[in-house]
Symmetry: C2
Subunit: 430 residues, 2 copies
Amino acid sequence: MMRTRPLKVALLGCGVVGSEVARIMTTHADDLAARIGAPVELAGVAVRRPDKVRGGVPAELITTDATALVKRGDIDVVVEVIGGIEPARTLITTAFEHGASVVSANKALLAQDGASLYAAAEQHGQDLYYEAAVAGAIPLIRPLRESLAGDKINRVMGIVNGTTNFILDKMDTSGAGYSEALDEATALGYAEADPTADVEAFDAAAKAAILAGIAFHTRVRLDDVYREGMTEVTAADFASAKEMGCTIKLLAICERAADGGSVTARVHPAMIPLSHPLASVREAYNAVFVEAEAAGQLMFYGPGAGGSPTASAVLGDVVAVCRNRLNEATGPGESAYTQLPVSSMGEVVTRYHISLDVADKPGVLAQVATVFAEHGVSIDTVRQQGKDGEASLVVVTHRAPDAALSGTVEALRKLDTVRGVASIMRVEGE
Amino acid sequence: MMRTRPLKVALLGCGVVGSEVARIMTTHADDLAARIGAPVELAGVAVRRPDKVRGGVPAELITTDATALVKRGDIDVVVEVIGGIEPARTLITTAFEHGASVVSANKALLAQDGASLYAAAEQHGQDLYYEAAVAGAIPLIRPLRESLAGDKINRVMGIVNGTTNFILDKMDTSGAGYSEALDEATALGYAEADPTADVEAFDAAAKAAILAGIAFHTRVRLDDVYREGMTEVTAADFASAKEMGCTIKLLAICERAADGGSVTARVHPAMIPLSHPLASVREAYNAVFVEAEAAGQLMFYGPGAGGSPTASAVLGDVVAVCRNRLNEATGPGESAYTQLPVSSMGEVVTRYHISLDVADKPGVLAQVATVFAEHGVSIDTVRQQGKDGEASLVVVTHRAPDAALSGTVEALRKLDTVRGVASIMRVEGE
């Protein structure tokens, strides 16, 4: 059964992930060959700095000319682990044009240009696989695209960024503030020197766009995703969360509207009950909770980043793409047939936890409650605490549209008796 | 792009799962067509009792002649949700012979005859898919076979039977004994009138055989799986578990030996630490923990049974098989190239929690400790409790081969000072 001409893989990038892909391809060559039905070999590795020695990659495979590598014509699969928009995008489309399929781990590029990359792949009869782009080693793209292809997904809610989960977990367990926890994450290598992409949730937003598109069979652009980072989360917020039996996570949430006619995608910190499976996701782990009409509630959990886990996801895709080539077939392409519109954050319906600093005098609660009522936001619980002439009010609402809550908060700020809005946090998972 | 001749599905069995498959195929026909790239229609439904009305299935599709249905020659996919060995086995092979691929939820048959069914599928160029056979709606077979195809799986440990997890969870949370918890499970419909297949772990053992075969790319027969039911688990065991910071779960465990040269598969009740992700799997939910060389620790969680969840898994497979047919290709077949031997339970290395009823006199602990030492089983902790002339000894061991532990227990029973071995339970997940 086994053919002898090997399938050829070109590797673009040989950093933490790429070098691990190369290592496993070498050390596990026999297993990969048996699973594919043909041997697979590393045919070239494009890097920026060829002088930087990479463990295990033969020097003769290394090149600085990535374009020439993807144009060679004898490459079956291009593995793109460079990241960023360019030159990755051009290299991927060039690969398709020259008869290669592509396995990518590039969430930023897929979130921004997924549709045009899919179109290029289809035009040239090639595969585009990207399991590693969301939640690292956790099988998620394939289960959503294939295992749940006979079901209707209504909600995807997940922790898809390990850095921020590490920081929030530290804040939760140690009582540390944000900067202290960030410093620890940086020292341990969980956060980059410039943590913006993680802590401002750009990374999670890209993943939310990809997940929403797949889950709802529609196109969701990065700009469609509401994004709120987690730099403003305080130790006081965690204390409030604990009083409610909750913790705080940075969640990516993709939802189908109740009427089914639109979808939303958003990333923001939120309180979730300790009893929710996502609440116990610790350190830099990722987990994604999926609600489907027939399947019910599913959860996928595992390491969301790191060289080896990401290489595992990449190589699973390499095996799939190689099998497709031997079958002279391609796997499922883009599925965006529903063309559902993406609604804005104002239309998202959820619950809110709001802390107000108020004057400690009679009638304040009545005033505040009136403002909520006028905006159609129903109050679930109120807790009032007085201290030294000042007081705080903690309001937890029933489900209400985000726009109604924003209107409420704007009006609250104008009240003489409200000295400040200490925090607003959404409450999910109930 | 869309072809107009529909793909035809024959449904064998129209009980809890089958009727849900039929319902979703009708109500979500447009979605299924869009995802497959061609319409798909229900071409016939074989049942034993045609007089029993099935919601939504047109009377003209119903037949009692399953054999004639699978022999029709125009069927693309046969969905087998009858269960049991015969007539399911003959119908599946007949389907292959007559040009149909098969989607099955039949764990007993796949555990017993998976290899010959795969061979028949391959001989006739057909697909055999069975995501629904293990852990219901949880995408597990596809992630193990495809997403992790570039990785090396070392361990699969899961809760794969919802009935027994429901019973154990009740015992844990309410302090109930086994029979009381079983009665509640029966009353709520979680346990069948004859619960043997579940509580004696035949069901879980079949799933362990399937999972071990896929995970290690070898053949594991049902007879290779060590099986111990959970009817002997007592409220006292749960009390002991709590003292250790553990709970008790019925676990299916598939492991690669440390030297990589063999594998084991077993199902038995075990203590696991409350901090382990499997400990918090409540009620009738299932979850499977996977340890792979590169990916690290992954967990898959969701409903393990029920009509709708199982139908979701079946339909995911139907979509995949239909796509394959449009591609004139087949998906991955059996992967058993490693041909690793399956070791017996005696070679499994794990930890043990042993409760002994002993005479309350000096020297007993020394005697008991000597027996452990003579059998090469190292003791981690001992707790001694005296009450009214009797005493109990609770011993927790370090990791030791199961055969050594069995020898230890046999020798302990012969000691005059040991009045009885109250319980032996393995300790996993540490």
